[in-house]
């Protein structure tokens, strides 16, 4: 998901619920964005024409002979004039694009600012817990990023689908964005699932090999001794779909309310999922948060596919 989408999605979400500031900032940003898109398209068509003219000029110069030289010269001068016009236009476009980009830069700052204000309002009202603001999400120190792994983000988008907006155009905009987001997420999940399946197969092959060795060499204690999960040491943590991981999840569900003891900081929980209910995040095991749990990945793919289906149906109507 691009940074732009990360910012725009919650912005759209908040659009219908908050004051005029965010709305106008969003409209200004979109208007500039549209102007940029239009200018870029025009610039591209001029550039294409420029290339075609260059190709024509080369051809004319190569085919020039005593009997057609004067015609070619006439044609070449026509091309030169057109080239000059195009160059002038490109210069104008570039200047305008530069201005719009700089305008957009300031508009996106306004947009962030407006969005943070909205979040602060929510925090004050208790809708969003403190510490979940965009600024806090972005202010992760480099060292911490290196030391701690990044959780994989597979939020629950059901709330977005159930969102009731007065303006149907806004809803359509949101659904279109969520549609492309879900498509990207499904592709991402599918790739992770494939990798995890390969890793699980390798882990099983390794466990089988070590069990054989342990049998040959009965004294090898770690190939034989089972732990409290009923797994041999070789299987521990390698076969993530073992029921043992289910136990771990249940244990923590029961211990809910003691989330700090679970080893997952509040900040990390917030970072994982801005949309999902916090209870759901706490219930996620380490394997789920890191995308190692195959069952979790499969469940998420089905969930996203069903959501996507619903969105497709609504947009087709």
């Amino acid at each position: 998901m691009s940074h732009l989408t990360k910012i725009l999605l919650p912005t759209l979400f908040a659009l219908s619920l908050v004051g005029q500031d965010l709305n106008s900032a969003w409209q200004a940003y979109m208007s500039t964005n549209a102007s940029i898109a239009e200018l870029v398209a025009r610039r591209t068509s001029y550039s294409q024409e420029q290339i075609e003219i260059k190709s024509d000029v080369d051809e004319l110069q190569q085919s020039s002979d005593w009997y057609n030289a004067w015609i070619n010269k006439f044609l070449l001068s026509g091309h030169s004039k057109r080239q000059l016009v195009i160059l002038d236009s490109l210069r104008v476009f570039d200047t305008e694009l530069e201005r719009l980009h700089s305008l957009q830069k300031s508009e996106i700052q306004d947009l962030k600012f407006a969005y943070e204000n909205v979040l602060q309002d929510y925090e004050k009202k208790g809708v969003i817990p403190v510490g979940q603001s965009l600024r806090n999400m972005q202010n992760f120190s480099r060292g911490r990023r290196v030391l701690s792994y990044s959780p994989i983000l597979f939020p629950d988008y059901t709330d977005l689908l159930n969102l009731q907006l007065h303006n149907p155009e806004h809803r359509k905009l949101i659904l279109t964005d969520v549609q492309s987001l879900l498509l990207a997420k499904i592709i991402e999940l599918d790739s992770i699932k494939n990798v995890r399946e390969e890793e699980a197969e390798l882990a099983l092959r390794l466990a089988s090999f070590h069990e054989d060795l342990g049998l040959q060499m009965e004294a090898d204690p770690d190939a034989q001794r089972r732990n409290a999960s009923g797994n041999t040491d070789k299987l521990l943590g390698w076969v993530t779909t073992e029921p043992s991981s289910e136990f771990a999840v249940n244990d923590v569900i029961e211990d809910d309310g003691r989330d700090m003891a679970s080893g997952l900081s509040r900040e990390a929980i917030d970072l994982i999922n801005i949309n999902a209910p916090r209870e759901e995040v706490r219930e996620m095991s380490l394997d789920q948060r890191s995308g190692k749990d195959l069952n979790y990945l499969k469940k998420k793919i089905v969930e996203y596919q069903m959501l996507l289906e619903e969105i497709n149906q609504e947009l087709d109507q």
């Binding site: 390969e198 092959r205 090999f209 049998l215 089972r226 943590g237 390698w238 029961e254 190692k292």
Partner: protein
């Protein structure tokens, strides 16, 4: 296997544990989730008798059958397996043997975040030659704390009864108290620290004392070892699975010749060479520092095949179908014989097929 004095024909029946576990697996297996495996292979062993000299090589056939079941309920899990393995060596027929390994166990979540484990495991080996045999049966129990996603703690104990019957019967019991601390450093990295306190009591095996350069057998004390072990194990998961384990064991004994300190290390790695081809490598190394190095001792209470000191194993597997796997394995083994400080070497090459039925 080493050639010791083999005199009496052993007529003892197969241990009761094996029968119990077999019956449970056979009768209850069909109603539970179970799996069956069959492995067939041929091997070349450069030194099957683990001799220092007069080395004879042989080829052999190996067949392994396994039935395993797992049953899960909301708070509990039960499992069991029975495994039989036969080694047939036509040229050295009397060295052929049968191995049986049985296991029963269960886990129970008795309090939220805590799990109780109990298990029974038995391993028996029977040689064709005069039905010489060895075996061990282990009872274990532990409590595991799973309050955190990242760290687990396990405290438990296990007791093993072992016997070696090569004409003369040697028996010993080994009890250990262990504490394992596991930390999931990242989703791909796991570190484990383990501490063990153990005691080994030998039956009818007098402690030996050194008086000057003379070896004296105690008339009142059997050998008793007290062991302290510290181990660190780090493993990495992912497309290449690898790990390393280092252990230190301090053995204090009332028998002067058994006093020693042991450093051991294990390195392993497994990965894919292509979509269907896997490789596995295991390297074991051990350095044993005896307190008394001048005296040669024979240790008949140990099955040398169970002794892991210096070993290299490399296996390449080719998955034909998920239920059919071809493999080839090379092993190099350099272990102590039943004599202290005396090492034998052997090379093993094995190739075969693993079938899941």
């Amino acid at each position: 296997m080493p050639y010791l004095n083999r005199s009496n024909l052993c007529t003892r029946s197969i241990p009761k544990n094996i029968w119990i576990i077999s019956l449970i697996c056979i009768f209850f297996g069909p109603v539970l989730a179970y799996e069956q495996q069959l492995n067939l292979s041929a091997y070349f062993d450069s030194n099957p008798r683990e001799n220092l000299d007069n080395i004879e090589s042989t080829v052999g056939l190996k067949a392994k059958g396994l039935i395993r079941f797992n049953q899960d309920t909301q708070n509990a899990r039960f499992y069991g397996s029975i495994l039989g393995q036969g080694f047939l060596e036509p040229a050295l027929f009397l060295d052929s043997k049968v191995v049986v390994n049985g296991e029963l166990g269960g886990t129970y979540k008795f309090i939220s975040g805590y799990r109780l484990y109990a298990g029974l495991k038995t391993f028996q080996k029977l040689y064709f030659d005069e039905f010489q045999r060895s075996g061990r049966t282990t009872l274990s129990a532990s409590v595991k704390r799973l309050k955190s996603y990242k760290t687990h703690q396990e405290l438990g104990m296990e007791r093993t009864e072992a016997h070696i019957d090569y004409g003369t019967l040697f028996q010993y019991s080994d009890q250990r108290l262990f504490l394992d601390l596991t930390r999931q450093v990242t989703p791909a990295f796991q570190a484990e620290l383990s501490v063990q306190l153990g005691q080994v009591d030998y039956k009818d095996y007098p402690a030996r004392m050194l008086i000057g350069s003379s070896l004296i057998f105690s008339e009142i004390q059997n050998q008793q070892d007290v062991t302290r072990t510290l181990g660190i194990h780090v493993k990495h998961l992912g497309k290449l699975i690898w790990g390393t384990a280092v252990n230190y064991e301090d053995i204090n004994s009332n028998s002067a010749l058994a006093e020693s300190k042991v450093w051991s290390a294990k390195l392993y790695a497994s990965g894919r060479l292509s979509e269907q081809v896997f490789f596995h490598v295991v390297l074991n190394g051990m350095k044993k520092y005896y307190a008394q190095t001048d005296v040669l001792e024979i240790t008949p209470y140990r099955d040398p095949e169970e002794n892991i000191q210096n070993q290299l194993h490399i296996q390449i597997e080719r998955v034909i179908q998920p239920s059919r796997v071809l493999y080839i394995q090379y092993s190099y083994i350099k272990n102590e014989t039943v004599f202290n400080h005396w090492f034998y070497n052997k090379n093993l090459i094995e190739t075969g097929i693993k079938l899941t039925l």
